[in-house]
């Protein structure tokens, strides 16, 4: 880690100004990704701007439209255990609690969670080529060891996975991300926040330099009656997903009125396919229909060798998770998610 200066921002304007005036400045929130990357010398800053003492954007509050606003600086634990989230957005609560560890969730913030970097092994190893770390240097994962990499939305330049659990639920819920820069505030639908790698894998998302995330808004429908988050991984807790699935179902008279399905661990962003959700609308919630939806979602998936197993695993996980959503009480946290 290089030496750097440190300052506590008093408010958003202060924070944005400090970082936009200095291209080598960065924000630190929970620090769980930032400080780790600084220690690996993968990031160099000359100034670290601490956003934890900004008043406002720390809470979880109700919006006039019936939705809920998550402050960017609220911690993942505060969010997952907030009574509004537990009662109305249990899918989000489950997804957050499936990620990292209790200590990390006490530190990690909602804004920081959206901006965490990939866990691609080569990204962390400065002795290997990596287009995300060093644009133009090549991708070591294509043709290398790629067990944890993407099967959907990849490019020749990068096959990394975006590792967040929370964001898989936020994608399912159609959340909206609000960010502030020096001269404007803007919002993006969740689906447009993260990017596919294309030929610019160095950019994970559409946040512009100097912009700060201030809040994440959830629409009123939290799919709290029929929901499930399933995370499959190498050990049963405190590990990143190989494949994860978030499902929200709105059932009417025994039929699916609306279905939402997003996948984690398979792409450079949470993966949702409208065609599959449209296919399920109006149909009974049967294993057969969920299997067809899974085929639609996974269509076009490419294995890179070691990660071929993810294709079949994702299909089965989708069906299993949609069935679990029919009976959310059967879910258990962590190691043994039921069914």
């Amino acid at each position: 880690m290089n030496n750097f200066n440190y300052t506590r921002a008093k408010n958003i304007e202060d924070a944005v100004l400090s970082v936009s005036q200095n291209s080598d400045a960065g924000f630190v929130a929970g620090g769980t990704n930032m400080i780790d990357l600084l220690k690996y010398n993968l990031i160099h800053v000359t100034l670290l701007v601490d956003v934890n003492h900004i008043t406002g954007h720390q809470a979880v509050t109700e919006n006039a439209d019936g939705g809920v606003r998550l402050g960017a600086f609220a911690t993942n634990a505060e969010t997952a255990y907030h009574p509004l989230i537990e009662a109305r957005y249990p899918l989000l609560s489950r997804a957050i609690l499936a990620g990292a560890s209790a200590q990390i969730r006490n530190m990690a913030t909602n804004g920081g969670n959206l901006l965490q970097r990939t866990r691609c092994y080569y990204f962390y190893d400065p002795h290997t080529p990596c287009n995300k770390r060093k644009p133009g240097s090549g991708c070591s994962a294509v043709g290398g060891y790629n067990r944890i990499m993407s099967i959907l939305g990849t490019s020749e330049d990068c096959i990394a996975v975006f590792p967040s659990d929370m964001c898989v639920a936020l994608a399912t819920l159609d959340a909206v991300v609000t960010m502030q820069g020096v001269d404007r505030t803007r919002s993006l639908p969740f689906a447009e926040f993260h990017r596919l790698p294309g030929n610019t894998p160095e950019r994970d998302n559409n946040l512009q330099p100097g912009e700060i995330i201030t809040s994440i808004d959830l629409p009123a429908n939290g799919f709290e009656k029929n929901y499930s988050y399933l995370k499959l991984r190498d050990r049963s807790s405190y590990a990143f997903a190989l494949v994860s699935v978030a499902t929200g179902l709105d059932l009417k008279e025994g039929l699916i009125n609306e279905a939402r399905i997003a996948l984690g661990g398979v792409a450079h962003k949470p993966w949702r396919v409208k065609g599959a959700e449209d296919f399920l609308a109006g149909k009974p919630p049967t294993p057969g229909n969920f299997a067809t939806a899974a085929e639609i979602i996974i269509a076009g998936a490419i294995g890179y060798g070691h990660n071929n197993f993810k294709i079949e695993l994702a299909k089965r996980a989708i069906v299993r998770n949609c069935l679990m959503a029919l009976n959310p009480e059967s879910q258990r946290p962590g190691a043994h998610p039921s069914l």
């Binding site: 880690m1 290089n2 030496n3 750097f4 200066n5 440190y6 630190v28 929970g30 620090g31 769980t32 400080i35 780790d36 600084l38 220690k39 670290l48 601490d50 934890n52 634990a77 255990y81 990292a100 560890s101 209790a102 200590q103 990390i104 006490n106 530190m107 807790s237 405190y238 258990r332 946290p333 962590g334 190691a335 043994h336």
Partner: protein
């Protein structure tokens, strides 16, 4: 190198080092640190509180767990400067008047360690977990303690020790 009791190390002061103050185990302390010094290193190297352990230094093991304003956090992924003004509790701060904390006693009773390296983190983490009040069963305790790895495999006994305190309704 000598460390004076305040934790102010007189030598090797970098240009941007600064004196920060926080409470550690109820005692006001001052340390002279550069911004890049982790809370873990500040505790161990500047304040000579070596009870808190450095396992991975990257957030992956939980050995460095301390309580900050009552919440369990990882001191290796926290900069000391970020905690100026906070109340930090480490393993050294748990025993009161020469009486071990009930969780410390339970760890001894249940043989909940072998090498002991993960133990300070396990105990601080367990205190944080019990005060969060979110674990209702043994399975949930296991899940919410998964951020603390035990390389010796004492996990079953660790959970036994915590369950004893939990089933007794805490310790206050």
């Amino acid at each position: 190198m000598q460390t004076n009791p305040t934790g102010l190390k007189p030598k090797i002061a970098l240009a941007n080092s600064r004196v920060i103050s926080f409470h550690v185990n109820g005692i006001p302390r001052m340390v002279d640190v550069s911004p890049w010094v982790s809370l873990l290193d500040a505790l161990r190297e500047h304040l000579d509180l070596t009870g808190t352990k450095k396992g991975c230094d990257h957030g992956q093991c939980g050995a460095c767990t301390v309580l900050c304003d009552g919440k369990r956090i990882l001191s290796c992924l926290t900069l000391a400067v970020m905690k100026e003004g906070s109340e930090i509790t480490t393993i050294e701060g748990l025993a009161q008047d020469n009486h071990l904390h009930p969780l410390q006693k339970a760890f001894i009773k249940h043989d909940a360690f072998q090498c002991g390296y993960c133990t300070p983190g396990q105990i601080c983490s367990a205190i944080g977990m019990l005060s969060e009040g979110k674990a209702n069963s043994r399975a949930e305790v296991q899940e919410l303690m998964s951020g603390n790895l035990c390389r010796c495999g004492a996990n079953t006994n660790i959970i036994d020790a915590i369950m004893e305190i939990k089933n007794a309704g805490g310790y206050e």
